[in-house]
């Protein structure tokens, strides 16, 4: 059994206009193992998986599943031979119900009625999904969405499951839950292909790891014996960075202070933000930990003025900014790295220099009065590209043409350009590869040393612990506890975030 090959990919090559995503890739996955695939952003992992799942057709190469040569014209073909995929980005329709999302495309199995519902309910139990199956998917939190994705795969009876960065949005407890499910299923004979940028996760779960660099396989290793550092070197040929903060630069000057902040949707009794008090000092990084959906997003958007607080005040360097709009707050010195760069940070079809203006359209060097200063914007964009190592063929390309990591570097560069006194960094390195991650951390650290106040929100607890001077935990719209990053462990933090009682330390 152990030597049976569930999947064999040979000589896979896939070209996109201007990019070769995969070139001559070889990958062998044994039946019943968890096989990790690692690589930088844009190394071609997702592309390879999409090829295995029939969503994209390879230009060259062959695919064998369970020893048989197959050709997938579309995902249905792949599903038929028992392959399932959980995508890097959720593949869910917000407006359809949970049940509909799951049975879609597999109605042939149990219809869409009572039988299907029974089957799904059973799977929901198995994976720990507690949501009502008839509510629209948009009401689900990320962890539940991830579960829905996995149920989708199981519902179709897949034996070979591809998980493309499933842990990026999960907290440690949730990751553990997920891994527990995976281990159980592995014991039941399922095969997994697992993609993650978090190398300790890879080492924790995988039986084998294959590393991809620049579209080709560089090698296979045993995660039990290889160190994270070695793995990282295989991937990028450089050392694994860590988000350690060195000496404290915290001062006494409060930059951001919020008091009694409250946010309530019209017509809803529940407060999304409830009596939030917080202060960020110059030279300080305040980390906010919390399971997604507990109000961090709303807190940031309220501080940015994108939402109107129901109650409470926000002041910046002593000046009350509660009544100001987003632009005025930005002009007052807030830089903002939004959690979803494609939705909130960038104009994807516009050139890089136009993206440089976004949020700064009222200020030099990109504008003068009501007039845009295009030359100035271009010049400053070139500076950012240089300083922040944005890999791009030029500043005239559309932002969409950059990979995620490079897009993020551009955003960070921009938000640190306006001489901010406060930086709000929401998941600044989400989905960004190790190289870019290091660079972004370094820039945040430098700015902090120069006296910048930073409000950091991150799901990556190592990042949070490593960068922050203080950490507050957010739960159901409230700040429930404060932790010292010097002593707290990710596990403790995870407990506080989920509201679980903390194990008493001996």
């Amino acid at each position: 059994m152990a030597d049976e090959k569930a999947v064999e990919l040979e000589g896979i090559t896939k070209r996109f206009p201007g990019v070769v995503a995969n070139s001559d890739i070889h990958l062998e996955v044994r039946a019943g193992e968890v096989h990790a695939v690692c690589g930088e952003n844009g190394a071609g992992k997702s592309t390879l998986m999409k090829i295995l799942y029939g969503m994209q057709q390879p230009d060259e190469g062959t695919i064998k599943v369970n020893g048989e040569l197959v050709r997938f014209r579309n995902p249905s073909d792949a599903i038929k031979v028992g392959i399932g995929m959980v995508h890097q980005h959720f593949m869910l329709a917000d407006n359809l119900t949970v049940l509909e999302n799951i049975v879609l495309g597999a109605e042939g199995l149990h219809g869409i009625g009572a039988k299907a519902r029974k089957k799904v309910a059973e799977l929901a139990r198995r994976t720990g999904l507690n949501a009502d199956l008839d509510i629209a998917l948009e009401y689900l939190g990320v962890a539940d969405r991830q579960r829905v994705e996995i149920i989708k795969v199981l519902y179709r009876g897949a034996k070979i499951v591809i998980l493309d960065e499933p842990t990026a949005v999960l907290v440690p407890q949730e990751v553990d839950d997920l891994f527990e499910t995976v281990r159980q299923m592995r014991a039941d004979g399922f095969t997994f292909i697992f993609i993650s940028h978090k190398l300790d996760e890879v080492r924790a779960i995988a039986d084998t790891v294959t590393v991809i660099r620049r579209g080709t396989t560089v090698g296979t290793a045993d995660p039990k014996t290889i160190s994270s550092r070695q793995l990282a070197e295989m991937m990028v040929g450089s050392e694994l960075p860590s988000p350690e903060t060195r000496e404290s630069t915290v001062t006494e000057t409060a930059v951001l202070s919020a008091s009694g902040l409250r946010l309530q949707e019209a017509g809803s009794a529940r407060a999304i933000l409830d009596d939030i008090d917080l202060v960020v000092h110059a030279g300080e990084v305040l980390g906010i930990a919390g399971v997604e959906g507990n109000g961090q997003t709303e807190l940031v958007e309220t501080i940015m003025g994108m939402r109107r607080s129901t109650d409470g005040t926000v002041s910046l360097s002593g000046k009350d900014i509660t009544k100001l709009g987003t632009l005025a707050r930005r002009e007052a010195g807030i830089g903002y790295i939004a959690e979803d760069r494609t939705r909130h940070g960038l104009l994807l079809t516009q050139p890089l220099w136009a993206n440089r203006m976004l949020g700064y359209q009222t200020r030099e060097p990109v504008s003068r009065g009501q007039w845009l200063d295009i030359a100035g914007a271009k010049k400053d964009t070139r500076r950012i590209v240089e300083d922040y190592d944005v890999r791009t063929p030029g500043i005239e390309v559309a932002a969409a043409a950059l990979s995620g990591g490079n897009q993020q570097k551009l955003v960070v560069g921009r938000e640190l350009s306006g001489d901010p006194v406060l930086l709000i960094a929401s998941h600044p390195t989400r989905g960004v590869d190790v190289g870019a991650q290091a660079l972004i951390w370094e820039h945040i650290r430098q700015a902090r040393a120069a006296g910048l106040a930073v409000l950091l929100i991150s799901a990556d607890l190592d990042e949070l612990i490593g960068l922050s001077d203080r950490i507050v935990v957010m739960l159901r719209g409230r700040l429930v506890s404060e932790e010292d990053p010097a002593t707290v462990t990710p596990e403790d933090l995870g407990c506080a975030m989920t509201g679980a009682p903390r194990e008493v330390k001996s």
Binding site: Y53, M55, M85, A93, L96, E100, G108, A136, I272
Partner: protein
Amino acid sequence: MTAGIADSPVAGPVTMAVPPKRRKIPGWLSGVLWAVGAIAVLSTASYLTGNSDLTSSTTTQTALRLALPILLAALGGLWAERAGVVNIGLEGMMILGTWGAAWGSYHGGVWVGLLVAILFGAIGGLLHAIATVTFGVNHIVSGVAINLLGLGITKYLAHLIFEPLSGNPRQSPVVPKFDTYSATGLTNWLADLETQQRVVLSDVAGILRGLLTQVAPLTMIAVLLVPISYIVLWRTRFGLRLRSCGENPVAAESLGVNVYRFKYIAVLISGGLAGMGGASLVLLKDGADYLENQTNGRGYIGLAAMIFGNWRPGGLAAGSALFGYTDGLQLSGRGPAVLALLYAAVLLLVIVVVVQLFRRKWFAAGASVLAAGLLYAIYFSVDELPRDLTPYAPHFVTLIVLAVASQRLRMPQADGFIYKRGQGS
């Protein structure tokens, strides 16, 4: 313009903070409640103003008649947009339908006429699908082009084919029309009831009688298409797949749904329904045969009714009915009837005020009081509404209802987006 008609550029923040809301009452029940409420308001207004037009059988019959093409166009819009294709070409497809209906009916009788109308509409749909689905053209561009093509081609064909028959390049010869049927026993009884002038009872009788007399098969089919659309789109696997293409085509694709195929099917059905809407202008008793420009923008009104109805069959039926009703009322009852309707609006606003006070929405209640007062002042002070404006009563009513009703419109999430196979993130 990536999103076609993106519904709300007023950007809301991302995260869904609203906790899951369970619908306490099922959709059909709330529909019934709304209908009962509407009848109650209308019959009260009719009683207080002494204008029986508000609930007469003639008015409802007319309303049904005028709502029909709008309803069918709106259903056409629904099918396309549920699959993610904005269809502003409904008008053109409808025009194609009018021509096809007349031509088919002339040569092979009403049913052939209906069939040809559907076919012609579907050809318009096919063109729209080729442009938007296969070539990924902006949906509005394609729709606008189809409106032009529909008009141009039918004019050309009428010139070529109808002129020798009718002597008129803008009109077809007289073509056979659908027979109509009445539930005679019932309607006679209802007629008695209606003439007795009893409060509420006579009103309900009038409304029902209007819906049950002289009904053509086409009318029945069209009305039935509302629940049928609902069932097919929301209760079958075919419908689920189709809707998934309008919500998240990439997800649908990743689950093995052939998005192109469903989009094609949806837009073809959409065109067919619009063509049927055209047929309803031609093939009903008292219909107009083919007449150039006879659709008069009804395709656009259908589109508006669909948005009004929040991309749902029941809602768009309500929108079409509202429009048809008001139009029928103003055309047959003219100024006095519209004035009575104004009175009904005041009553409605009073109810709204009570509800808002109950819900402790002071601002909304205040605004409604103001509006009610204003309308009542108009009602009280004028004996006759301006003659130039009464013909547009349905348009005013639509605007006012939209402005008053809370806007929780939700278009299919990927509506108007251009989808390309294998391009998903």
